[in-house]
Symmetry: C2
Subunit: 399 residues, 2 copies
């Protein structure tokens, strides 16, 4: 195996696929990156895989001798990242020992020899022979992730809640529909309603050139961890490009041409979150988003110390929202700001962290808060921009 490629290409893509390499691999070979060197296409594919999440990136290279090989991920990244810009040549040295193959890495400055492992031991990335294919503009998928990903649960025991639920909602007759992204950890819920024309086909239909299938009931739950990596990959792409999703019962593949991410799907039925969102509200409050974030940051200095609780007081006559934090041992904090209020005055308390997460994702200058009583869920929506609903369960105030 021998090839020459650009240091910058190799470096960027090694960082990317290394994200799927486990830091404590259960088997030594999973700590390696698979290099697949293909003479026909004059490309090198780099693969990292932790048996759940897989990332593959393909770069152009001058192939002198085709072959497959795995190299220690961290060591390879460390070396390549410190080599000067320019050409890098990676080659194996003939060796009788199948288990360990000596590999040289050469650039204009510096030369390395490190030990590789044969590719035969490296697990195959999942492939999908049958199943559905979806093509989505990157901008739509990015919007969905931006508005929902943060709300997924970080608690691994909560299984299905550690993922983002993606589904189409609409009638059985429509071949193209809107995609909805939702995530909840039981304390708050974020839902993004995107408006995109999707092309959806089953693999079989594609082959037969048939028209699109009925999509009613189409729904997937994908681990947040995989989607966070996908978000990084999408960030480097043009927003007008498209992303293809291939999936079957257990796996999903996100295909971007030169980059591909595979993940297992989360099993189980996702909570019927739409039932949590109240139909009507007795009060609304419109406020400048940055002003509210600034105020919460300020008063949370005190809240952080203990219970993370902030109390909202709505004063319609003054047109004022007051934030208050009281912590017995530490002290208290007050902050007020102008707000447009409808309905009778009230008080409601929230966990500051949940509010902040949502307010950062609600990308609009002003946001509207809809609420009933202080014990019932409040929802936040942006005025303009992304169509998003953020629901937060209030915390009961003990007097």
């Amino acid at each position: 195996m021998k090839f020459t490629c650009a240091q910058s290409d190799l470096n960027t893509n090694l960082s990317l696929v290394s994200r799927a390499v486990p830091s404590r691999p259960t088997h030594p070979i999973l700590g390696n990156i698979l290099l697949t060197v293909d003479a026909d296409t004059q490309t090198v594919s780099l693969t990292g895989f932790d048996l759940s999440l897989g990332i593959r990136a393909t770069i152009g290279a001058e192939i002198i001798e085709a072959g497959n090989l795995t190299l220690p991920a961290k060591l390879l990244s460390d070396i390549v990242s410190r080599l000067p810009q320019g050409e890098i040549t990676i080659a194996t040295i003939a060796n009788d020992d199948d288990e360990e193959i000596l590999t040289t890495i050469k650039s204009a400055s510096g030369s390395f020899q490190i030990r590789a492992m044969a590719a035969t031991e490296y697990p195959e990335l999942p492939t999908i022979e049958e199943g559905q294919t979806l093509t989505i503009p990157i901008s739509v998928f990015s919007d969905g992730l931006k508005g929902a990903l943060f709300a997924a649960s970080a608690d691994e025991t909560k299984q299905i809640l550690t993922g983002v639920h993606i589904r189409t909602s609409g009638s059985a007759a429509a071949p193209t529909e809107n995609l909805e992204f939702a995530a909840t950890d039981g304390h708050r819920l974020a839902v993004v309603h995107t408006s995109a024309l999707l092309s959806v086909n089953t693999a079989l239909e594609e082959q037969e050139g048939n028209k699109s299938e009925n999509l009613t009931g189409f729904a997937l739950t994908i681990p947040a961890r995989a989607l966070r990596e996908l978000e990084k990959i999408l960030g480097a792409k043009q927003e007008d490009e498209t992303l293809s999703l291939h999936f079957d019962d257990s796996q999903i593949i996100f295909d971007l041409g030169d980059r591909r991410l595979t993940s297992r799907k989360l099993e189980g039925s996702y909570p019927a979150y739409e039932q949590l969102i109240p139909d009507r509200f007795s009060r609304t409050l419109t406020v400048d988003r940055k002003r509210l974030i600034g105020g919460l940051e300020l008063v949370s200095v005190i809240a952080d110390q203990k219970n993370n609780l902030v109390k909202f007081t709505l004063d319609g006559e003054k047109g004022q929202l007051s934030l208050a934090v009281d912590t017995k041992d530490v002290g208290n904090a007050r902050e007020s700001m102008p707000a447009e209020i409808t309905g009778t005055d009230t008080e409601i308390a929230f966990n500051v962290k949940y509010l902040m997460d949502g307010l950062k994702a609600l990308a609009a200058q002003e946001i509207k808060m809809h609420l009933n009583e202080g014990t019932q869920p409040a929802i936040f929506t942006p005025l303009g921009g992304l169509k998003m609903t953020y629901l937060v369960m209030p915390v009961q105030i003990r007097e």
Copy 2:
């Protein structure tokens, strides 16, 4: 107690004095910052003190009511750093309880109440009634720290080696002399020879207007930790300002007018380091400093994995320095660069970390390495710039 000051002034100086507040105070009050509010001078002094290192900063303020008070360092810094720019008013609320005093912190936006503790419990910063006073240009002291501080030992059991040794060398007749900074951890030694006119007086002489005292044998060892904080404080000052040192047998005070740092001195006699530096060398090597640093960074990717060892091979005929790292389990690395070499060819090995530390401090485009045999200490000096000597003990190469 009540005063008004600028948020930016308070914020900057709180960060500064907080560096002397222990993260795990042995007594609760040491986790606080002492505020001394003086109506005569219309200033507020902020003090942090861990019983070894003390930092005091004084800011201008509008004093409404004088007094002393201590406030929790972290909470106060967190609040002030998040308040908007502009005026801040800090005031105590009358309270019968001596132990806990409620304090309000108000700005245009946001208002806080936090619990203070009385200043009476706070320990006094050391003062020096008798002893010597030294006045040094900041630029000289900064140079000394830059070239020596990094070489002090981080091992607290090594006592005197955890400090930087500062001394004057010269004849008894001269009232102004050169200051020398030295630090060693037993594996390497850094010495900076500064050229500055010092004014040195004993406190007694100052009062009586007498001429300067005999300085032969003047020497101090100051904890590196205190000097690292001093370096930060000096960094914010103009290089042409001066720094005053007051010291007695056990304490030293660095005085910059509005900022003051106190530290205990390290006790014990400092090693006679000048005896370690060889008088003559059989070989020299002149090389571009950044090229050498770059080469070491590259090959150390392999060295980092195991024993941190790099081998230098000097080839006078080729005019070439080669760096090599060989690690049985991981692999090997090679890198060569042009160098001007005198003396016979040889090999010598070093701990990469020690070399890198020194090369970063030797601020010149080219550096000169002086050596004898591969088992004897090598010294590095810059060509031009700071007058500095960096000695590194080589590591014996096992073939």
